[in-house]
Amino acid sequence: METIRNYLEAMFANLPNTTEVKKAKAELLNMMEDKYNELINDGLSENSAVGTVISEFGNLDELAEDLGLTKEVEETRVREASINRRFLRNDEVLDYLNVRKASGLMVGVGVMLCILSVCFPILTAFVDFKNAALFSLMGMFLSIGIAIALFVFSGVRNSEWHFLTSVPCQIDMATAAQVREKRKTFKIAYAFMIALGVMLCSICWLPIAVMRSGIFVISIFTMVAAGVFLFIFSSHIMGIYDTLLKLNDSNTISGSYGKENEVEYVSKAATAVMEVYWTTITCVYLIISFITFRWDISWIIWPIAAVLHKILEVALVKED
């Protein structure tokens, strides 16, 4: 049955993503499924059942005519021929996932090192020892140096995948479903990492408040650095999944791969706003917190953002 489903998806992949087309696809799948089940009950082997169903399917040109889609089908055909989509194989997608995950880790660690680098001068300002000045300078520049090396290295590794954003690409339904599944699994870890990050940032002033010793400024930077790492790493990985799921042309059926049961927004602008919502909030939170250094109260941004998100969702989600 999986073969039949994939066959039908492939036939429909480049048709316009309209209600009529979706209805036609669902209805055809239903008929094929009925036929397949009956053939299997009649004692046919899986292979010959699939063969019969596919050979008796017919062709889509005829259907396009009656659905009033002849023009669209022709347009899609011309468009596909002119832009020549790059088709990503399953193993390429998995490869991409690994490279980008590693780069998320490297960028996260890099930013963390940049924040931590200030801990060295702070430490030597409070504790004096032999060669303290040298230690402080060395420590600071070494961590910044490593951070830059990490940025450059991840940039170089990413560069071979640049075509993903510059050339139109396409993935098949099975791969999209696989990415979708990974994204779903990651969502729990994502929520946990963001929550932990917010918590670390919002209580970073606690040690200094309790200990009342200047050296605990270091703990502020350490906890913020860990929090920022969690923000960057988790949203980076989420971003990879979203990039992959958005590769297919959203005007065609293939554009809906991996997006089943996903909420739809009223307009393109609304979708764009909702997509970058949490990333924007994270940036705003970090910028405000770093400028004011009121980590003890800036976390209030999160509950406010959550309420705002709910309101936006109510206002912008498309009713069926």
Binding site: E56, E65, L67
Partner: protein, 112 residues
């Protein structure tokens, strides 16, 4: 083996489907199965042909569709059923007459 030319039979796909719907409302696969049985497997209507006919006839008002949560055999599968309308019956009648005439005319030239 001789095969039916799709050009010739195309004009009568709708008639076949309507004739089956005259008895009772039915759904996609059931209709295609009946056509296969009635014609003793001499004609198999392709899925796309069948669905095209449904959309076309629904647009013309010959049939109506409705969604049933369960099919008539009581299986819990959501299905789109089709039922014939009054216009559909009229259309069917006129197609029957048309066929009689067509048959008469063509017959006169077959091996005579």
């Amino acid at each position: 083996m001789v095969e039916i030319s799709s050009d010739v039979i195309r004009g009568y796909n709708d008639t076949m489907i309507l004739s089956i719907l005259l008895k009772e409302p039915s759904y996609g696969y059931e209709i295609s199965k009946q056509i296969k049985t009635i014609t003793e497997e001499k004609y198999i209507m392709k899925e796309t042909t069948l669905y095209s006919a449904f959309t076309r006839m629904e647009k013309n008002g010959f049939i109506e569709s409705f969604v049933a949560e369960k099919d008539m055999e009581g299986n819990g599968k959501k299905r789109t059923y089709y039922r014939i309308t009054e216009e559909g019956r009229n259309y069917y009648e006129s197609k029957c007459e048309e066929w009689e005439l067509t048959k008469d005319v063509v017959e006169k030239f077959i091996r005579s």
